[in-house]
Symmetry: C5
Subunit: 343 residues, 5 copies
């Protein structure tokens, strides 16, 4: 479920933004609490061993290991790799959101151009809406685990009313040798929707060739957008790049477990306090690991994170609102003068 | 209210830009004065306690805490996380501004394509303009608290003249089980506007199928833009990211309250002055907290900050100017030679 | 006046780029010389006081102030805030430049679609061109001080021939209660231009409904672009952001005046030379202040800087070339075989 | 083959992202293992020579060389040049992916607008699809080595069925003096596809001029996109920029081989451990070299890396699915009420 | 001439990218060798003077100057100003490349819509192609020195066959008082091309008003793109910005000549080797100066660098291929079943 928080930040008054921190769902806390615990436990174990179980000479050796690592931690510039990568990922996420598909335009146009109140006209309109929604559903089934779980087989799609039994048979009659992503048959319902415009024009429900072409254009736009959802899923950013980022952050903190141990000996110099809990490293961990989590969540917005796109809700919304839109063609208000008419 | 300042920076002459600093409304001063005061008070209290109330040994301990924190403050690279995030937020803000909606194109086209000076023709044109303005109003009611306060119920919308009583009844007759954001009925007035083009064509006020399609295209563009205002509000940037940024800045300065205390002992070395007011930390606070405020203001431009979009003014402007545009169709100047004609 | 320098950098040969530095108009030198002088004078005064007028103890105290400030100057990361902000500003500047308006497309289409060599046909074409140029002029009057100074009143617009007296009367007959930016009447001449296409179609000068719609589309594009020039001016980047940037740079150098004073005492250590002129700080000042000036110039490209858009030249060009374009409709070369015909 | 990993990161649960690291194909490990080995061997040889083969004085001299290099390694800011360059490269890669070409829209439109079940009608549709696929193939042959290897000569293209013998003869009859990239004849099959629409209109299979224009528009879009694939290949980013980046990374690590040697003498100070394996430098090498590899992979997505675009699969998919789409024009489901009809 | 290197980086295998470094044309080596030599000579002279010609006391003084400069070199953050500026410049370069103009779409449409094999029809098509190519040539003459040198006068344009003598006379008959960039007459041949569509429609070679409008649209797109090439040249990025960048890099290395001198005295401390050649500074120089050169090359892609756009080749290509495209209208392959027909 997408987490909405705009209402809470309607002004930037003092500490208003602050309340965002006290949310759990979709929050950074939920995302990183487990990693943080593991990190602290590892740190703790090594700390205890170093302070209690080691002999003086091995303490000395260990301290030189600490110093060696600590001095070189900056070799990995996390802030750069995270900063640049997150910009790329947000860009991709935004583009996906733009193409994810609201059916309103298709249905309002069907309503405007496929006229008539006869049952047949209504069926034409409903079919256009339904076939478009079906195209989206088929793509979402491949792209999103949530939708796949809801519609594990094509039969469940029929049962949910998105398809009739006949339509499924026709759909299955198209066979492709190619079973990979490239052989997917998303275009079939879109083709049906386009054919509806042809038939409706022949039957006179669409009153002009030009209107038919407008209708076709909108269905095409819809299909192309949906297809890009699929294509973006097919060709993600090269695997190496997220690997690199993930590696950088994890290695950094792996080394930190040792590098950030406090050297006891130095304690005598009263220069620094001997904190048993590594406060600052802990803060840094939250910060960088949180940044990495932001990337993970946005890299695949069709996953199952709290903040991923709600594909199932969107499918339901599109079929329900879509059919409603095309049902009541001509119900418009009376033509009356508005309130400001004589001003 | 949006704060305009372009006039004041029409040149980059010496210190011209400087005068921008002496504004209060929508300024960085207004945004952060409270945070700054709180920060300084906290800093002051700890400073006083440390210098006067502590025994020598506990001063020593406290000083080692200060040194510990100070040395590690750089673990949180504020400049990176703020710099990259602000770029993303500005991008989103700009896109929203592009889609927020000026009604001129719709009305000028209605004016051009729906011809006639009969009352009915005028009503057609006025209705198209009004329904488009109404669509915007309905979305703004959900997105902006200011507009919501102005139009708390649908009845107030009727009272303001954006809708007639009949229209509201028809609007309410569409019921959706779904009461969430996904079930909103913004499309209904847009549908009415589209149906107006159908009827006007049937009545002969629109003189060609092609003109009707042009008219429809413009109304569709208007509706789609308005819908994206709503969709952007529905799916904000994943909650984690602003949380992370907010957390980083606030923790940084929380730690600063201790880390930036001046260690007295060092004073003896004459190396640095003992400032009782932490000038430089104060400047840094203004700087980073200000940057965070910029983000907060731009993240939700439909909020109630000084610099947020003026939704109510925009609604008023669209209905007033829109109706004016469609009222005087044919009043054009005489066809006369212009001044340069015979050159 | 826009400063052109492309010719001088046509290759990247040794030092070619270098000659760019020896220009004055629109240069960084012109932009910052005054600030630099003021900065140096302040620095000099303090330097002289410190070295000659202070007693030894107060010198010691002052030196500790210097050290205190110098060590903390890096708290304000100028390079980040300037780097990210300049990217945003350049983006906005580029978009504005894309929409600022060249009239060629409108006029060439008027020429192609409004046919005929009769006086009336020519008047139609000229009016379309003139009304479009007028729309631009009206917007530029509000946005640019230069254009405002050239056309202080609507009467001067009439005198310049962009409008006839009758047209001004008609223009003034549209009254809006709202006198703010939102109530501006830029759309009126655009509406006239659109109405010209209607009348020309009725009179048979435009030969097809489809051509009329093409013509309308181009005029609409023109008007919408011009309107965005106005809208961008109406909603600038939130005031806070430029305030923040300006503040950061100015405070940085204010503190620098003290922080960058050379501590005399250190001189004895032979470690560094005692320069009376702060060379490096001077270079840094030029660098950062110059970067800020780039931002100031680009933030409002309709101002009066050397490098701002030449609105007046553009208006003149559009009316002159526009009328020329629509004047000689049918003068095309004879239909003859070209030189390569028989190859 | 493009490497897909979205399924594995469907949530950001603990360590989910981590599993990405344990892949070989298309991974960062595969990309850099050889460089890493070479780097370590060089480092090792020098280390052994320094520790065992050198006399004390030459050790001293060598150590001063180490110190000299190490202190100045930061002169080359790898993180900046890599961060900014990768952003540019990803942008280019994304644009290429958007234009690389899925044939669905062309075929679905052919299906909708070129009607009829006669053999001739079917041939028209199949030819449009085939010629479009052929255009893509011809471009991919020039751009991608994989496709070139699969279709080394035009005869192999004929053999694969993308072209008939006659068509090849006609294709070859167009001669250009110019044999460079600029003289390529990619437009010929696109021209044939466009001519098909003309003939089909003349034969009455396309029922309206307007439909023909829609069809033409889609073929044009297809051709233009394909052409940009070619143009992007023709004008890469200026050679200097990747040279610079490559140079920076390689020089950095060349110098590192010396600069990162541990100075033995320091060992006596117990300050740091004497690691014989340069752990941290090794990590840094993986990190930066991996980043460089990401750039190399994305700079030319038509190459032969694991993660490059699968041009051959795409060509096969387009011809197979394309022909399937245009084959069964009129097979649509019966017009029946859907499941929700009476709700 | 654009330098192509994609073939050489088709994989990211070990050191594949490396070979890019061994190219001369368009390479970073060619771009900076002269600057590097000059820099090294200056450095050398000062180094020799310091080591041999100076007395001990002046050596001491000079050393303190070195230390003073060296410590403050970081005041100028080259990596930031270069990184951000290069991103802006690449963006601009990419947009220019997108609009630079390939004539294929115009000609293929002329071929499709202006039908007939009569000489007159062929002349119509050839003229449309030629006038479009001519528009491009006229703009390139103003923008690119290479094209200007090839066509120094309009007579050479006639001689090259792009224009007939009559056409030049007609072209010259349009006079503008304004001789600046704003008064350029690029639109004249574009106007002729548009008029061709009008005449061809009147003569029946274009079979539908709609086709004429499509044809017009494509010519308009071509002209608008070409015009933006010109407009981008007219309004470059504000002079200050490249000045600032150039200044920063050059000043940095000017100061470096002194700041990076090795202080001999320190040599006694055996801490660092006394290198007579400043290896690391040399590497840094290559790196930053190379980055600057990338910017210089991309800032004006119509210049005469190795990697600038090949305007002359493009003009030749467009006229040659363009005329070829429109010559053989109806030569399409026989309508035969393709190889896969009966599958």
């Amino acid at each position: 479920m997408t987490i909405n928080y705009h209402k809470e930040i309607k002004t930037s008054h003092t500490w208003k933004f602050f309340v965002l921190l006290f949310r759990w769902k979709g929050s950074i806390w939920k995302a990183i609490y487990m990693e943080t615990i593991i990190f602290l436990i590892c740190y703790g174990i090594i700390s205890v061993v170093y302070r209690t179980a080691m002999s003086e000479p091995s303490q000395r050796t260990f301290e030189s290991v600490i110093r060696y690592c600590d001095k070189r931690l900056s070799f990995i510039p996390l802030e750069f790799v995270l900063g640049f990568f997150v910009t790329i990922v947000v860009d991709r996420w935004t583009k996906l959101w733009r193409t994810v598909g609201f059916i309103d335009d298709v249905c309002l146009l069907a309503n405007l151009y496929v006229r008539g109140t006869s049952e047949k006209a209504i069926i034409y309109r409903r079919n256009i809406a339904r076939y478009c929604a079906l195209t989206q559903l088929l793509v979402f089934r491949d792209v999103s685990m949530r939708t796949r779980r809801r519609f594990p087989t094509m039969e469940t799609v029929v049962a949910a009313g998105f398809m009739s039994k006949d339509e499924l048979d026709l759909y299955n009659s198209y066979t492709t040798k190619n079973n990979s992503r490239l052989g997917k048959k998303y275009w079939i319902p879109a083709n049906w929707a386009l054919c509806m415009t042809y038939k409706a024009r022949k039957d006179g429900y669409i009153e002009s060739d030009y209107f038919k072409a407008q209708m076709e254009g909108e269905i095409r736009t819809w299909r192309t957008n949906i297809e890009w959802v699929c294509n973006y899923d097919w060709v993600p950013l090269p695997l190496m790049y997220p690997q690199l980022v993930c590696l950088a952050v994890n290695l950094y903190f792996l080394v930190s477990i040792i590098a950030r141990q406090l050297v006891i000996e130095k304690h005598k110099m009263v220069d620094e306090v001997d904190v048993y809990f590594p406060v600052m490293t802990f803060l840094q961990f939250i910060f960088y690991m949180g940044w990495l989590k932001v990337i993970e969540v946005m890299l695949n917005p069709f996953g199952e994170d709290d903040d991923d796109f709600e594909t199932n809700a969107l499918i339901d919304r599109n079929i329900t609102m879509g059919l409603k839109m095309v049902d009541n063609t001509m119900k418009t208000p009376e033509l009356l003068k508005d309130q400001f008419f004589d001003e």
